[in-house]
């Protein structure tokens, strides 16, 4: 009967073609219709800057995730499927949108990872919400990717600015210190400005006096800002910017003989690379997005050794928190896929991911170098904790965990 639907020339072959169709349907695993999944592989797409000024975020994002996926694959993958990462370079908003579209529409990835910081995450936000592809925002703290809530977008280790702002201010009061007036040196670009707004809200609530001075991205001369802060009699300074900006600001304040009782740095400035700028950086504080600083515990030291072995040699300033977050993120994706079951579909993954509890590398035999992540169907922020860090003896170390405020 079916043969009636075949063209005349193909009619003799109809039974064979029909049988071939049945065999191919029967032989394919469940979920083969799902984009980015085959019987042997789950395709994960990611974007981030591999060159340019924010390559210190994207490159560790790629390396950390690849290392995590390699470890998971060596242990058999998820339901026998290997996890494969396809990473696209994107640093500007336009590049981010183009890269995300390519990964979703052309490469048909199953999960999309935004390893691009706030700028890329903000640029891709509307598209990923509309596309419905399961999306994991690794580094973007911008509210644009978080609001409005979307059931397909998950946020990992980087906390919202409202949370980091409270963490930053809490560090001014550690060890019995009580600042009278806090000076804020904030970059004029997007991330520091978002944090500045949140920090000012917290200080207003606490009725703490403050003075704000700003600087342009990649600034190297802070004399004018420091003179202005000195004029306003600040006794402690918060720097919202990169480690190089913070490093040169502190160096110049010391040269000027400015009496600053406490320096607290934004998470983006908490890096080993600030120490060579200052020589002696002891006493400087800042928050870290993972529970331990590189070198602080055996598991982190083991992570460093594995990363070095994977990369061949360790680039300066690495591993950083972005390496560790990306490594942890690879395991979170694997755990979500595992929880969704072997009949993997997009809906099942979203449902499983929304109910993950304490997901971290140790659950699949990896190294716990990031905070475990938990999600609920109405809250897709996986982590709310921060590590309060201080430089002691020329090395950063996390001295307490800042819990969810």
């Amino acid at each position: 009967m079916l043969a009636a639907y075949f063209p005349r020339r193909l009619k003799p072959m109809a039974p064979a073609l029909f049988a071939l169709g049945l065999v191919s349907l029967a032989g394919s695993p469940a979920g083969a219709q799902e984009r980015g999944i085959t019987a042997s592989e789950i395709l994960i797409g990611a974007i981030g800057a591999l060159t340019g000024p924010v390559a210190f975020i994207g490159t560790p994002g790629r390396d950390g995730m690849t290392m995590g996926f390699n470890e998971i694959n060596e242990r058999g993958g998820v339901c026998g499927r290997k996890l494969r990462l396809q990473f696209e370079h994107a640093s500007t908003p336009a590049e981010s949108v183009a890269a995300v579209k390519k990964l979703v529409e052309q490469d048909k990835v199953f999960v999309l990872v935004l390893a691009s910081g706030s700028t890329g995450a903000a640029a891709a936000a509307d598209y990923v919400r509309a596309a419905g592809v399961p999306t994991y925002n690794l580094y973007g703290s911008t509210p644009i990717i978080r609001e409005p809530f979307s059931k397909n977008v998950f946020h990992g280790a980087i906390v919202p600015v409202e949370v980091s702002a409270r963490g930053l201010i809490s560090m001014f009061y550690d060890d019995g210190y009580a600042p009278k007036k806090i000076g804020i040196l904030a970059g004029t670009y997007a991330f520091p400005q978002a944090t500045l707004k949140a920090v000012e809200e917290v200080l207003k609530e606490k009725k703490t006096e403050r003075a704000v001075e700003q600087f342009d991205q990649a600034a190297r001369d802070f004399t004018s800002q420091l003179v202005a802060l000195s004029r306003q009699n600040v006794d402690s300074i918060l720097v919202l910017g990169s480690f190089s900006e913070a490093g040169f600001a502190i160096k110049q304040a010391r040269e000027m003989g400015l009496a600053v009782g406490r320096w607290v740095l934004d998470g983006s400035a908490v890096s080993r690379a600030i120490i060579p700028i200052l020589g002696n950086a002891d006493g400087i504080r800042g928050y870290f997005n993972v529970p331990y600083f590189p070198g602080q515990t055996p598991s982190v030291r083991e992570f460093e050794a594995r990363l070095k072995s994977y990369l061949g040699s360790m680039p300066q300033g690495r591993p950083n928190n972005y390496d560790m977050i990306a490594y942890g993120a690879a395991y979170v994706i694997a755990l979500a896929a595992q929880a969704a079951g072997c009949e993997l579909t997009r809906d099942k993954l979203l449902n499983a991911w929304s109910n993950l509890k304490d997901a971290g590398p140790a659950k699949l035999g990896g190294l716990d170098v990031s905070f475990p992540e938990s999600y609920t169907p109405s809250d897709h922020q996986g982590n709310y904790r921060l590590g309060a860090a201080i430089v002691k003896g020329g090395e950063w170390q996390v001295y307490r965990i800042i819990e969810r405020p």
Partner: protein
């Protein structure tokens, strides 16, 4: 109040003197070849990177950086003139300018790919207590940067005005055919101009490395500041380049201290537009006279 103003002015002069050195290199190449070398910032970045290698990586004595790097970067610039710019000599000005822009990008990206890091820190030449002059303190590093760069810039002016090298460049700038008829080799003069421009960029890199660190962004920062300083001072005037650099540095510093700290970068472009509209030849153009 006076001490505060003094601090702000010294910081402005410190960065301004580096801008002046960068502008001087741009102007030297432009005077001799009529080309704006947009790869100049990348040469300065290479100079700063070479400083990191000499001082931090190999731990040689600091003064070797001041001696070796200008010669080295000058040689690199001369080589690039020979390899990239010479074949384009008959091309139109636009093509040559685009070539220098992409040459700069290529050099910066080559550095990024070989040394994939955000910032390399270089210690200062001098440590120790600052000097106090009338309640104003000045660090040894600031004093060295200001006096060192300005002395170099003045030496460069003397060489350009009175030396044989300078005479050839000035002749070429004035009239290429006439200079050739007088026996000056266009190849030799152009290469020398690029060498001198590269050497000045390299030296600017050595001076700026301890106060700004070494990063790819340094390339953009130097070319932007050098170009703006050159335009403010007058793109054909060596003295103008120096004064333009100092003026730019001081204006940035004063604006950040007394107008708004977010105005620092904005002020340089504001100055650029004002000068271009009001006095396009620059504030301190070279006086041109003809004996008849």
């Amino acid at each position: 109040m006076l001490a505060e103003l003094g601090l702000v002015l010294i910081a402005g002069l410190k960065f301004g003197s580096i801008y002046a050195l960068a502008a001087l290199g741009l102007v030297v190449v432009h005077k001799a070849t009529k080309t704006v070398n947009f790869a100049h910032g990348a040469f300065a970045m290479l100079g700063a990177f070479a400083t990191f290698l000499i001082v931090v990586h190999w731990q040689w004595r600091y003064w070797t950086a001041y001696l070796v790097i200008p010669l080295l970067i000058g040689a690199v610039a001369a080589l690039l003139e020979f390899v990239v710019l010479r074949p384009l000599r008959r091309a139109d000005l636009f093509t040559v300018v685009v070539a220098t822009i992409f040459l700069g990008i290529a050099l910066a990206e080559a550095f990024r790919l070989t040394y994939n890091t955000e910032l390399l820190a270089v210690p200062g030449l001098f440590a120790g207590q600052p000097f106090f002059v009338g309640g104003i303190f000045i660090t040894r590093e600031a004093l060295w940067v200001i006096t060192g760069t300005l002395a170099t810039a003045l030496a460069c002016i003397v060489v350009f005005r009175h030396g044989k090298i300078g005479r050839g460049m000035r002749a070429m700038a004035s009239n290429v055919t006439g200079a050739q008829l007088c026996g000056y080799s266009i190849d030799r003069v152009y290469m020398l101009a690029w060498f001198l421009g590269g050497a000045l960029a390299g030296l600017a890199g050595v001076f700026i490395a301890p106060i700004a660190g070494v990063s790819v962004e340094l390339s953009i920062a130097i070319i932007t500041a050098g170009f703006v300083a050159g335009v403010i001072g007058g793109f054909d005037s060596l003295t103008g380049a120096i004064l333009g650099g100092l003026l730019l540095g001081v204006a940035e510093s004063l604006a950040a201290a007394y107008v708004s700290s977010a105005m620092k970068n904005c002020i340089s472009f504001l100055l650029l537009f004002i000068v271009l509209m009001w006095r396009p030849q620059g504030l301190f153009p070279e006086r041109t006279g003809r004996r008849v």
